[in-house]
């Protein structure tokens, strides 16, 4: 195998897939390294067509299997056989916790783009200005105008269905038709929007194809709601269905699975990174690949780990860590707070098709002086779900049996509604990951250690999430309204971010406004590590937009440098 490339991308998840596509389409010979196994679109989705009875235990998992994923199972998908194979084996991939942290991830080509929930929301200037306004952490080095056209590009390419409502806190997007509301969603929207003037209920924006626009190699969502298993129609966006095939089509991509990157090598002579060191996950063979440009997309914590391991004389504490901020300011969203209710009066209404999403209530707190709260800053959005329950999974309270029970089981169950907040977390300097060189993994590499906890702002915000959810469901006239405030360890929202934040000043941040490491400009970090604040929107759309933007910056510089080198050579001749 060749060992010199124009560019290297580390990781094939949501952000890495975009880096691969853009760099390859820009003409760069690109090596894409992925620590996990190969997953080819459609061919490698073993459960995509399986019905409940096709699973030996109807989808339930054995205690032995669950024990191997004792951390991953904090996410409900891991408790079911249909998708558990997308999540890592915790015994083989251990990590340490000073305080509880649920690090939920998948090591395979496509990363978490296969299992993600596809919720896609833009950040606004309220978010990009927030740190500066509140004098917290550091200011974002970009504003909405810097990223807007990249949001456009990404949304149009991946396909995002939803609705534009012209809200300052949730900018309009380039959306395909929304998935329509069912009878109860409509009722909820009507009640809330007529009773509250500060909040809207809209169809969730999700990365599914709904319109007639052509997306090469993919087709419209068929409403099967089996997305997490991998979709044979390519109905939702994943690296496997979308960006990686696009990169492949250019002929410029070399994809190497089973390649654990553990160091980016710094070259003192050039002041740049020269390449990456890799261990083959299967053979344990050690390899070195060179490139002019390196994109780090191993996901927030994976990237922090690689950079922290990349020690040199110039960077004794990790590559680009002049500020000491590398690995710090780790954020997530906090979740599992909200309310549930039963809806009466729609017993004769039903629907056809399994809609893979439901409604969204965009942030309505701390947007302006009118909505300012005394107990917390920032805000949260509600994600909801509405549908008729299955009577056989519902815990029927009485011990019924016989003909009546049988009859009951076959009927559509009660209408249920649930809404849960996704809340912004502040970037606390003390929330960090470090490396543990005493507890090594199978490949002799250090494991990461989490020291993260939520603060008062998050805890106070949760109380409001529960209160507002209860109030809204009650206002809508629903019954059996119950508050939910379940334990939510940091990490469980799977939106971890911030370990190599962007900023204006190299003394207080790791990356500049183009996601380049301040002191090592040929290394770009465009996964969640780059986030300066967390906002409350699901973040992946922003990672994609920032990645596309950074890739174009890298391509331009690459071409400029090539031209200069040519000129310089000609002069010498």
């Amino acid at each position: 195998m060749k060992n010199k490339f124009d560019a290297i991308v580390i990781g094939t998840g949501i952000s890495g897939g975009w880096a691969a596509k853009e760099l390859c389409e820009g003409g760069l010979k690109t090596l894409v390294l992925e620590r996990g196994r190969m997953v080819t679109h459609i061919k490698d989705y073993p459960t995509m067509h399986m019905d409940p009875w096709d699973f030996k235990h109807r989808g339930k998992r054995t205690p032995e299997d669950l024990a191997r994923q004792h951390k991953q199972k904090a996410n409900g998908q891991v408790k079911k056989e249909e998708a558990a194979h997308w999540f890592v084996d915790d015994i083989q991939h251990p990590y340490q916790e000073k305080k509880p942290f649920d690090w939920i991830r998948g090591y395979h080509v496509g990363g978490r783009s296969i299992m993600w929930g596809r919720q896609s929301y833009r950040m606004s200037d309220i978010d990009f200005n927030a740190n500066k306004k509140d004098r917290i952490a550091v200011d974002w080095p970009i504003r909405y105008k810097d990223i807007e056209k990249w949001y456009d590009k990404v949304e149009e390419y991946i396909g995002v269905s939803g609705e534009n409502r012209g809200l300052p806190q949730l900018p309009d997007g380039k959306l395909s038709p929304a998935m329509p509301f069912n009878a109860v969603e409509k009722e909820f929207q009507k009640q809330i929007e007529s009773q509250y003037n500060d909040r809207v209920v809209m169809p969730a924006r999700v990365a599914h194809i709904t319109g007639d626009k052509v997306h090469e190699g993919r087709s419209k969502c068929q409403f099967r709601n089996r997305c997490v298993r991998g979709c044979p129609f390519g109905g939702y966006f994943s690296s496997n269905s979308s960006t990686l095939p696009a990169a492949e089509r250019t002929g410029n991509m070399t994809l190497r699975p089973n390649s654990i990157v553990h160091e980016i090598v710094y070259d003192e002579r050039t002041g740049k990174a020269s390449g990456v060191r890799v261990i083959d996950a299967e053979t344990h063979e050690k390899l070195f690949f060179k490139a002019d440009i390196i994109f780090c997309n191993a996901s927030t914590v994976g990237t922090a780990s690689i950079l922290l391991q990349s020690k040199s004389k110039r960077f004794p504490n990790g590559l680009g860590n002049d500020s000491g901020e590398l690995g710090r300011n780790l954020m997530d969203h906090h979740m599992k707070a909200g309310a549930v209710a039963t809806v009466k009066g729609f017993e004769d209404r039903y629907y056809k098709g399994r809609k893979p999403t439901s409604f969204y209530v965009p942030r309505f707190r701390n947007l302006d002086p009118k909505t300012q709260q005394k107990d917390f800053i920032r805000g949260y959005g509600f994600q909801g779900g509405v549908g008729r329950a299955d009577n056989w999974t519902q815990n029927i309270p009485e011990f019924s049996y016989g003909k009546d029970l049988k009859e009951h089981l076959l009927q559509p169950g009660d209408w249920k509604i649930g809404m849960y907040g996704f809340g912004e977390c502040l970037p606390y300097h003390d929330n960090k990951v470090t490396l543990n060189y005493e507890k090594l993994d199978e490949w002799g590499l250090p494991t990461v250690e989490f020291d993260v906890k939520f603060g008062e702002n998050e805890n106070n915000m949760r109380k409001d999430m529960v209160k507002q959810a209860v109030e809204m469901l009650t206002a809508a006239g629903f019954e059996e309204v119950r508050p939910v405030n379940a334990k939510s360890n940091p990490g469980v929202a799977i939106h971890e971010m911030g370990t190599a934040r962007m900023g204006r000043d190299p003394k207080t941040s790791v990356l500049n406004q183009y996601n380049q490491i301040h002191a090592v400009p040929n290394v770009y970090v465009t996964d969640g590590a780059c986030m300066t604040s967390s906002a409350c929107q699901n973040p992946s759309l922003t990672y994609m937009a920032l990645t596309a933007r950074a890739a174009h910056h890298a391509i331009e510089n690459f071409k400029k440098n090539k031209k200069q080198a040519l000129l310089w050579r000609e002069e010498k001749l």
Partner: protein
Amino acid sequence: MERRKALKNLALGMGYTIATPTLLGILNSCVTKETEYADWHAKVLSTKEKYIVTHLVDIIIPETETKGAVAVNVPQFVDLMLKDIESDTDRNQFKRGATLFALHFKEKYNKPILKGSKKEIENLLSIFFDIDPKEVKRLHTLQKQNIFNVPREQADEYSLYKFLVTLRSLTMFGFATSEYIGEFVLSYDPIPGKYDPDISVQEVGNAWSLR
């Protein structure tokens, strides 16, 4: 016996194509006969437990115009789930509960449960299931407790209901997720193709089988 055997061969020979109502009717009529539970080899249930479980499963979801839980192999499913999925503690509690159920039977009818009829077993179940809603609530709360926190004098009640409640929910689960119910009785639609947000229940009929 002759008729049973004949029908059995018929069923095996036909594989998936047994979904016509008349044939289903014929097949159904033989499945709940007394000796049915002898035809398969249990992995964790003893002979006695298998007898109790098969009868109770049949009582919880009986055959009507459509197959009951026994005909869609729920007893086998219960045996499999006990073996592979339930924890050691839960499995032991289940078995302890089954033993207690058999003891209650012996007390009531003065004969071993293996000699009990379906009617007799149903009468016994009724004593434990047809109870005051307040009592049901109390028992649910008791079930949620960790076994190690259950007071000694309530241990038997705990085990007995562990058995009955687990069996009831496994029966519902195994029945509703079986191929026959999922494809032919509930409304089956693996690839809907589109989303119709508001239609009447009549247009669909029984509930959708897939989530």
